[in-house]
Amino acid sequence: MNSESAKHVFSEKVDDWLMGFYDAFEFVKLVFREAFSGGFEFTEFVRQCYSIGLKSLPLISLTGFVTGYVFTKQSRPSLMEFGATSWLPSLVTIAIVRALAPLVTSLICSGKIGSGIGAELGSMKVTEQIDAMEVSAVNPIRFLVVTRVAAATITIPILSFYCALVALAGAFLNVTVNEETNVLAFLEHGFDSIVFLDIITAVVKATSFGFTIGMIGCYKGFNATNGTQGVGQAANSSVVLSMFLIFIEELFIVQVANWFR
């Protein structure tokens, strides 16, 4: 064993990866500690809710509506083969409520919000604005991170709920073009198959996705280095990592939810 490899427990890459994991864990611990140690920055939290929530509405409206419409259109031929088009409202409602709405909202938000948080905090980090905040006796974790993570955690479930409504509107439009139906009949038929566990699972998923997007964006931004290049990397890796974790969480939550069915 040469002296270079003796410095590492496993290998340089594995050690770096493990250290990164440990740093992230410490960061999450710090954020929780600051969040519950009093002095919540309510004004900044409201500003972030506006920035994350209201400003994302147009994008969520468009993608939600298109998702609902296209999913219904694509599902119709398969159901027609079995003469089961009357099941279409149930099928799309289950798909939208259980999976599509939280997932589509979170993926859109990880692109829009996660990258925004990563770039904003990354830029503040490399231009010493976070240090300036700290020497002004203002806790940057409490002011910048706790507010953003809380805003993302609360806003994304609300956006997911809104996305589900818009997607159902898209699905209804597609159904009503092909079949004679009305909104009440569509919803009644659709929600026949939805149980309370589906709603709870969707809320848990969206909350967990929101927390992940906020936390990853803040962590990457706070650890940005190497000037403007580092800011770009922080924004990019915020999106990639949060999307990856969203799929892992989706898998995990679906498995847990199935144990209760």
Partner: protein, 252 residues
Amino acid sequence: MEKTIEIKNLYKSFGSLHVLSGVDLDVHENENVVVLGRSGTGKSVLIKIIAGLLTPDRGQVKVFGQSVADLTAKELNELRLKIGFSFQSSALYDSMTVRENLEFPLVRNLKNMTRKEIDKAVDEVIEAVGLKKTLDQMPSQLSGGQRKRIGIARTLIMNPKIMLYDEPTAGLDPITCQEINDLMNQVKEKYRTSSIIITHDLTCAKETGDRVAILFDGKFAYQGTFEEVFGNPDPRIRSFYDYNFIEPKLQN
């Protein structure tokens, strides 16, 4: 005069890079100490340790008699209210106007202040740096010199007792440099501050420094008045002097 900052045997390394290797320095009440040294010799690291932004490996930093490393987070924040830090990049908050930048430390730390009191404090510091017309501008609309002055104004709003300037004249034209030098001297007189000024600019050192200290190899090699330090025949000091003042070179 009373000591406001006492640094004893300070060490700091980043990995295998030893930046500070046994630094000793005292700063007295209402004294400007200029710290000179080549790039990468740890000048900025030194003032970041004083402000509690970095932790030293070894040694002690006392500010107003309190050891910075031994303070709790709350005590450190209380101490920071007495310290103004002017960053090399000015570090103005991009998303806020000049007025919001100036208000920020006040609004966050003194939550019982009225709107009228905040406006009065803002007016006072913006007049001190002579940039009243920029109040509603964004930092991106300001020139380099204006950003530096607003950065200094933001620290003055908390009435600091210690000012730490990180390269206050870097990247500025000679006329603006002179304005910043005058401003630092005015701050010292008006607010009775003790300051550490990190710079490469010998004109700045000469105009603002009551005492000059030069960092070589991680420790202060020379300390004294500008004339004492630059009267030294050490070639490392002469190289500083010759580069900054072209005239002696031309005469030679």
